[in-house]
């Protein structure tokens, strides 16, 4: 019976969201009709019986292909799966980037409240124009791909027949992936947000490390003072490792966008990344201090000292303690991930083996 659920899920996931439920119910009911007419009315059908019927119905792709008229749009459902996340990622990263550059721009000498408002009012149209440009370009590019690369034109019957012929010998109901349950599901925005933030971190730390620090003012409108916070040598030492971690997390998020579910291998990949994070943080505790307190305090003149008081209270030891707390938090996260594996992935595997 679970095989039917998997088949139905595999068909409807290609279809417009609003129609999924109804089409899925009808498909399920028709599979039972077929089972009933061949094997008689039963409360339970064997896996072999179900497989026989599903094999005759053909691959889920073939079953879904009949409904492509529903989304007869500029960009087909197959390409939309790439178009949406990609467009959102670029828009998100650019919006974040513009906002950050706006925030950095506030901290210039001679900034007054009036100028601040003026800059803020400039920010909104510049975000709107960028987003509109990005959406326009990605749409044009995807529409061109859709209509000029022959493999992507889904409509024609010929293409359908070619696939049918190719699939007859290869598609088996047992190939159907399990239906994602509970915590296995991934909402599209989660990996997209992850990628946007990672891009911002990568850009900030790699291209503007000298701009990261404390900005402060004695009096609004009198301009801003800046003290770099991270020690240069520490950044130089750690940045390559951070970049590797960020790169891996982008890869993980891209895979999540493609699959929209946590698979066992993705969870293991995630855990490996977490262990690497612990290793890097461990190295940071042992290695050069991330924040060079002495240098930081050497900037101090009367007013800077005041701004730095809270920081000065943090000794290097207490930064190490923060890092250790971070390691504990990541370790707890790893435990949670392992529990998830046992709760969802392993549980689902057992009935299949029966």
């Amino acid at each position: 019976m679970e095989l039917i659920e998997r088949y139905v899920y595999a068909v409807v996931k290609w279809l417009p969201k609003k129609k999924r439920n109804d089409i899925g119910r009808e498909l399920e009911s028709s599979i039972y009709d077929a089972l009933e007419s061949r094997f008689g009315e039963k409360t339970e059908y064997t896996e072999e019986e179900i497989s026989e019927i599903l094999s005759e119905m053909g691959s889920p792709w073939k079953a879904a292909a009949g409904y492509t008229w529903m989304s007869d749009r500029l960009i087909s459902p197959e390409l939309l799966q790439i178009y949406f996340p990609l467009t959102l990622i670029i828009c998100g990263a650019v919006t974040l980037g513009l906002t950050i550059s706006f925030l950095v721009g506030i901290f210039i000498p001679g900034m007054t409240f009036g100028r601040f408002i003026l800059r803020f009012l400039e920010l909104i149209p510049s975000i709107l124009v960028s987003v509109a440009t990005i959406v326009g370009f990605t749409t044009i590019i995807f529409a061109l791909i859709e209509h000029s690369i022959p493999g992507y034109k889904i409509k024609p019957q010929l293409e359908k027949q070619r696939r049918q012929a190719a699939e007859k010998s290869t598609w088996k109901p047992s190939d159907l992936p399990a239906v994602p349950k509970g915590k296995q599901k991934v909402a599209l925005w989660e990996p997209i947000l992850g990628i946007c933030f990672t891009i911002v971190f990568v850009v900030l730390f790699n291209m503007f490390p000298d701009k990261l620090g404390i900005y402060y003012t004695q009096q609004w409108g009198s301009g801003w003072n800046f003290v770099p916070i991270f020690s240069e040598s520490a950044l130089r030492t750690y940045l390559p490792y951070w970049n590797i971690l960020w790169g891996l997390s982008v890869i993980l998020n891209i895979l999540l966008i493609v699959k929209l579910r946590w698979t066992l291998s993705l969870r293991l990949f995630d855990i490996v990344i977490a262990f690497m994070q612990i290793a890097v943080i461990g190295a940071m505790i042992k290695g050069p201090e991330l924040i060079d307190m002495e240098k930081l305090l050497s900037y101090s003149n009367a007013d800077v000292a005041e701004a730095l008081t809270p920081l000065a209270e943090l000794s290097n030891n207490s930064i190490d303690i923060l890092l250790i707390i971070l390691i504990v938090a990541i370790s707890l996260g790893i435990l949670g991930k392992i529990v998830n594996i046992f709760k969802t992935d392993i549980n689902i595997r057992i009935p299949e083996d029966k």
């Binding site: 119910r25 009808e26 009911s29 009709d33 079953a63």
Partner: protein
């Protein structure tokens, strides 16, 4: 399958596609669910694949040519389709046209 057979198959497919709508509409004067309809058509000599019929039913429903209703007769809920007033009108016009074409083709082939 050789080249000749392929051309034949494609031509048959074209003819069938055109007539499928008339066949389906003609059988839905009383409500039927999808699987029942496939068997009904098969009995009448028209073989149709589930993957073709279900999307067709749905498209006709969206065009208001068919109406549908989930109902529990027997063990499970099933989606029953029947022809709408608009569909009945369409079927009347289509069958008229079909008879005309059929007559013309027969005469040409004679």
């Amino acid at each position: 399958m050789n080249e000749q057979d392929k051309k034949y198959e494609n031509a048959v497919l074209e003819i069938r596609r055109g007539t499928l709508l008339i066949c389906v509409l003609s059988q839905l004067k009383s409500p039927h669910y999808g699987y029942e309809l496939i068997q009904l058509l098969a009995t009448g000599g028209i073989e149709i694949d589930q993957n073709t019929l279900y999307p067709l039913l749905r498209r006709l429903e969206e065009q208001n040519i068919l109406t549908s209703d989930w109902s529990v007769e027997g063990s499970r809920p099933r989606k029953y389709y029947s022809i709408s007033d608009e569909g009945t009108e369409l079927l009347a016009r289509l069958s008229e046209e079909w008879n005309r074409i059929s007559k013309s083709v027969s005469e040409m082939l004679a």
